[in-house]
Amino acid sequence: MSTTTGSTTTGSTSMGVELRGLTVRFGSTTALDAVDLTIPAGTVCGLLGRNGSGKTTMLSVLAAFRRPTAGAVLVDGEDPWENPRVLQDVCLVRESGDVLADLPMRENLAYVAGARPRFDADVAGALMDRFELDPAKRPDRLSRGQRSAFGVVVGLASRTALTLLDEVHLGMDAPSRYAFYDALLEEYVAHPRTIVLSSHLIDEVQRLLETVVILHRGGVLLTEDAETLRGRGVSVTGPAEAVEEFTAGHQVLSRQQLGRTVQAMIHGEVPPEAAARAVASGLELGPVDLQDLFVHLTAEGPR
């Protein structure tokens, strides 16, 4: 069996997401607070945030694992809750893995294949090989990294129009993670779809992303094109007064002083003329790593 052809109800192969005023509360904790967010169809979106920032809760709502307390969730223009058309094309893979733990992976794949109209068994087999997973083995006999890898197999082979991968790469060792990144890109370019990749390890995944959403304390801190975001952090080094002058009016994320030299990190656009003037006046400008930017933007304390 290869790709299921002519799945009757499916239309587009990418589904976008729109959240309006999404609020999720558990008892007295507010996990997500009036979140408005758009994830364009067909992009690889990085959902970044510290632990407890609301990433998993948001993904759980998108996949109808849980019901929001308030607000609207639209996946491909419809509420996913108890919506068979939308849900058959939404796949959330969590690090814990939602599998039949005591049945061989082969049977787990058969189960998924029966539920997913676009499931591709050839892709599943190739990915199993790539991650060196034996289909005769049971998920509860796997290491944490292997379980994550199996989740990735399920997530990518299902070819769902909205694929949500929640911290799946955390348990994997470096070779598996790179195998995962390669597989993700290959599958994405071969069969474009919307992929949301949540993580708090940004260094490795940033190049895979087209858009970035940073969640912080249950709210969206920023949504940005990944390349633009990378250009939005600037580090300035030079004499204290000159640095102060340059950074005035900008959001300063961090400031370190060494003797009379100050290094400051600002968040925001610096027009080329301003940059040229700064360089001419003896300041050194440099890029800010996305990871650094993220760490400072989401640092606790007054913002």
Binding site: Y181, V189, L209, E210, L285, G286
Partner: protein, 132 residues
């Protein structure tokens, strides 16, 4: 402007320019597709597409419908001219600035550049001392 860790699409564009300049990519030759770029360099295809779009804007590449991206005729000369025009500002001027900071007379730099010392060899130590 932000040398070093510039946005990836700029780095890709630069890499393609360099390949055209050094002859790795010939005029009229097809360049890798965005998807090949994406999988080869582990980057998002949109990032590669952004680099290509920039090069198309500059006239270095052109798109042939259904076939892919190709190096435009005249791209080599165009890039050469562009790089030459920026050579002094980007390569020579920083050298002059460094020499000034270090107190090396410009004449020494010129001597060095015009002498037939093999590249990479230790320059002759200046006899005179204390340029302060």
């Amino acid at each position: 402007m932000f040398d070093g860790r510039a946005p990836i699409y700029l780095q890709i564009a630069d890499r393609i320019r360099t390949e055209i300049l050094d002859g790795t990519l010939q005029e009229g030759e097809q360049v890798m597709s965005t998807t090949q770029y994406a999988t080869t360099y582990r980057i998002n295809p949109a990032t590669a597409a952004k680099a290509f779009a920039q090069l198309v804007d500059e006239g270095v590449l052109h798109k042939r419908r259904g076939l892919g991206m190709f190096v435009s005729p005249g791209a080599h000369d165009q890039l050469l001219e562009d790089r030459r025009s920026r050579f002094f500002a980007e390569v020579v001027d920083p050298v002059v600035e460094q020499a000034r900071v270090l107190g090396i007379p410009i004449q020494d730099v010129v001597t060095r550049l015009t002498s037939d010392v093999p590249l990479g060899a230790t320059p002759p130590r200046p006899e005179e001392e204390g340029t302060s």
